[in-house]
């Protein structure tokens, strides 16, 4: 699907320092944007609840994996029943390695098994669990692409009307 087919609903750029100043920013942004994104959907509160769950998970991932400086940019776009969340995250080598590993795991096509294992694993939370859950529970199509050697683009396509009904 060509990008030109998608219309912008909302765009937001934030300095990393501002975004990463408080964990609750993830929840607040997700809640606000989800309300915007739910306008025009069949059942807005239900849609908003699903959308905020997805967006919060993505924002929590980039909260944990990003460069200390730069700007986070994200957009919500729409084409018919598909909503797209497009995120651009400045990355340091550690964050790049995380996203590369996440991309490889998503390509393996067995997100459900990976998710179940991660749920029961001891020790630190593997934040890739967020991606696997979006793929399995919300039917998200996730593309992770490195850009210019110091940033990552995340494109997440969602058909949440189907999940909601």
């Amino acid at each position: 699907m060509a990008d030109a087919q998608f219309e912008d609903i909302i765009r937001l750029d934030m300095p990393v320092g501002l975004f990463a100043a408080n964990w609750s920013n993830c929840d607040r942004i997700a809640t606000y944007v989800a309300r915007m994104a739910s306008i025009g959907r069949q059942d807005p509160p239900r849609y908003s609840n699903l959308f905020s769950s997805v967006l919060n998970e993505l924002l929590e991932i980039i909260f944990c994996y990003r460069a200390p400086d730069g700007a986070v940019a994200f957009a919500v776009q729409r084409h018919g029943t598909t909503d797209r969340i497009a995120l651009s995250v400045p990355c340091d080598p550690s964050a790049e390695a995380f996203y590369a590993a996440a991309r490889d795991s998503l390509k393996s096509g067995d997100s459900a098994t990976l998710m179940d294992k991660a749920l029961l694993a001891e020790g630190e939370l593997d934040r890739r669990l967020g991606f696997w859950e979006l793929a399995v529970e919300y039917g998200a199509e996730i593309a992770i692409t490195p850009v210019d050697g110091n940033a990552m683009h995340l494109i997440v396509d969602l058909k949440l009307e189907a999940v909601a009904s």
């Binding site: 408080n22 964990w23 609750s24 920013n25 993830c26 929840d27 607040r28 809640t31 069949q42 059942d43 807005p44 509160p45 239900r46 609840n49 699903l50 905020s52 769950s53 919060n56 998970e57 929590e60 179940d116 991660a118 749920l119 029961l120 939370l125 934040r127 669990l129 967020g130 859950e133 529970e137 919300y138 999940v163 909601a164 009904s165």
Partner: protein
């Protein structure tokens, strides 16, 4: 900890445990009700790490360790949980079942939160003796009947008959143009559509639990070009709508269907803004009347009241509205009644509605209660006599309805 009350209840702001103590983000609440062996989670659980959940984890572990039988994990009002929170819940459940072989855990979800049941089903593989129950599959007594879409045509006729009265009554209860209106238990949505067309509201949000009714409502609204009505899936006793959002909140012919109407009134109160009004309508079916054959008609409708009571519903609720509203904390209660009759419009409409009642009350409910053939024959005759009264050239048939409204204190 309030052990004497056998309740552990704490409010936990997820960011409060962070060293900075800043960012009072939306939190979640948990409490444990020892009497019901129920651990309740509500709100938005998005911790940064499991340390932020320590008080909840500790309370859950303590409760699970000393229980026998089934522990209920109620997540009906858990609006959102991130992977960190969900993983912690998985861990707690797994440990609880491993350490206490006499414990089973039943997770109570709701269809209203679209992700909830499917996601929690996954925890059945985490540990043995874990079950998931979607509580609103059967959460009020008349659900099977009322969410049956075969009754859609007759529900439309009913609204047509009551609307003749209510369009004049509603302004007396405070409905004005440009208001934000919620219609809770909207059914097939025709009342919300009529309100939208007649009263020029700023918005109408119409909520019902029956997806079939909502689909019908959206279709009809689109066909009629009615805009500004959002039809939303929801549970009247646990709405996802914000506090203090609406100027006018309606709930028609529905409190009488639920076994705990006070829970719904509490929600209507919550979503109404201070100074706004809550408007309800209900029946007292034993006061349905007709001539000729008044005695037969009255007998059957008195039996309808008993029949509903048998199934945990109160079709006599109408005149109790004032007390219920006052008990909820509403003020300036206004109350009146009106009689839908065969003279209001086409008498055949009245007769069709009574025939639909006969189908539900006699053919379904009385049969399900196990009533005798003799009873069913007499019971049915009352409805036939009511239909005859409605269609008789000199007859009169009536269906009384009580409306009440109250103001949320400023």
């Amino acid at each position: 900890m309030t052990e004497p009350e056998k309740t552990i209840r704490r409010r936990h702001e997820q960011t409060a445990a962070r060293p900075s103590g800043q960012g009072a983000g939306r939190g979640f609440a948990f409490h444990y009700d020892e009497n019901n062996q129920e651990f309740v989670l509500a709100g938005v659980m998005t911790p940064q790490d499991t340390a932020a959940l320590a008080p909840m984890s500790e309370a859950f572990g303590a409760a699970a360790a000393r229980l026998r039988g089934t522990m209920f994990l109620n997540v009906k009002k858990l609006l959102r949980v991130n992977v960190c929170g969900f993983r912690e819940l998985s861990r707690l459940i797994s440990i609880a079942c491993e350490n206490n072989p006499e414990l089973a855990i039943r997770i109570i979800t709701t269809s209203v939160i679209a992700w909830s049941s499917r996601r929690f089903e996954r925890l059945k593989s985490v540990a043995p003796r874990v079950e998931v129950e979607q509580y609103d599959d059967a959460f009020y007594p008349g659900q099977g009947v009322l969410e049956d879409t075969s009754f859609v045509p007759i529900l439309r006729t009913q609204t047509k008959m009551t609307w003749r009265h209510e369009r004049d009554i509603l302004p007396r209860h405070g409905l004005k143009p440009k208001m934000r209106i919620a219609d809770i238990c909207c059914g097939i949505g025709d009342f919300a559509a009529l309100v939208a067309r007649t009263f020029d509201p700023a918005e109408v949000v119409a909520v019902d639990h029956a997806q079939g009714s909502l689909a019908y409502a959206r279709k009809v609204a689109a066909e009629l070009g009615v805009r500004r009505v959002e039809y939303v899936h929801g549970d009247a006793a646990s709405l996802l709508l914000e506090d203090d959002r609406f100027d006018f909140v309606t709930c028609r012919h529905s409190l009488q269907v639920f076994d705990r109407p006070e829970l719904i009134l509490k929600e209507l109160f919550r979503i109404c803004r201070p100074g706004g009004r809550v408007y309800i309508s209900n029946e007292k079916n034993s006061h349905c009347l007709g001539e000729p054959r008044a005695d037969s008609i009255q007998w059957s409708y008195t039996e309808v009241a008993r029949l509903w009571e048998h199934f945990g519903m109160d079709i006599e609720l109408g005149p109790k509205s004032r007390r219920l509203m006052m008990d909820t904390g509403l003020e300036d209660i206004r109350m009146e009644s009106f009689m839908v009759t065969n003279l209001d419009g086409d008498p055949q409409d009245f007769a069709d509605v009574v025939a639909a009642w006969e189908s539900v009350y006699v053919d379904r409910m009385a049969v399900e209660r196990g009533d005798s053939e003799e009873f069913i024959a007499r019971f049915r005759k009352g409805f036939h006599d009511h239909i005859s009264a409605a269609l008789h050239p000199k007859g009169y048939a009536g269906w009384p309805i009580w409306v009440a409204s109250g103001q949320k204190p400023l």
